[in-house]
Subunit: 160 residues, 2 copies
């Protein structure tokens, strides 16, 4: 049943954008991502955590080329819906571990988080699927994160 992490990837072409304290009511997510889609912005991650007191935050990632357009749209939608504000940062990277059967292997994500912790790398955003755990971190930490993750999951041996 051992989880097989088959690969580690790092995407440096990332801008993270967040809308804070959006009203937690139907139609808000649609409004934001429809506006982005109409400008042909390719959105990679969409992350929305647990609501609090009728408000929530919505964050997402786009490429660096799309930063200006996406941030402009985020600001426009934020104003229209009465969100508290918008933040963005294009000095980030998305590091991911990929493998099969993660849902039945609770330790895998914890191990990735441990590797980043031991490198004193702060995790800014987290998103998972059955086959992938992705963390947004400072772009300057990307390369050493990849090396350490390869090692931690035994993938460096394949390259000898």
């Amino acid at each position: 049943k051992a989880m097989v992490v088959s690969g580690v990837a790092c995407d440096h072409n990332v801008t993270k954008i967040a809308l804070f304290d959006v009203p937690d009511k139907p139609g808000i997510a649609y409004q934001l991502f429809d506006a982005l889609a109409k400008e042909n912005i390719n959105v990679d991650m969409i992350i929305q955590s647990h609501e609090q007191e009728n408000r929530n935050d919505i964050s997402f990632t786009v490429t660096r080329d799309d930063k200006d357009t996406a941030v402009a749209i985020a600001n426009k939608v934020a104003d229209a819906i009465g969100a508290r504000g918008v933040a963005y940062d294009d000095t980030v990277a998305k590091v991911s571990i990929v493998g099969a059967g993660m849902k039945t292997n609770p330790g895998v994500a914890a191990k990735m988080f441990e590797v980043l912790y031991r490198l004193n790398i702060n995790i800014q955003m987290i998103s998972t699927s059955e086959i992938k755990v992705s963390c947004v971190i400072d772009e300057q930490d990307g390369n050493r994160a990849v090396v350490a993750l390869h090692e931690a999951f035994g993938l460096d041996k394949l390259e000898q």
Copy 2:
């Protein structure tokens, strides 16, 4: 280049749990998910959005059977790290659309969000991967969400 949504799924065996205002420093995500892994809790979604003023929220989902143990762990870790609090809800379901090439099809997630909006279904949590968009919603909305999504993405025709 048309995105093909090939399936719609709804998982009713879901409990959502969140830790609010955890310190945004290395080691926090590791501490939480290591504690869960040590109790063999299978975590499905892990969602962490954009940080704010040195704090962040971390939410995740587990099965209904694991609710009590996972909530106890969340409370224990929340106290240990000085988080503001914990919330949980097991009256939720996770509805997902699955398909290929979503990253290059910005309108797909927006369309899913639109379908839910038109049904007046509130989206509690969102997580995406290249092949999947998942929304946590009230469990009572699960079935009609699935029917509407099948229809919106043309999947109902296959069943005639």
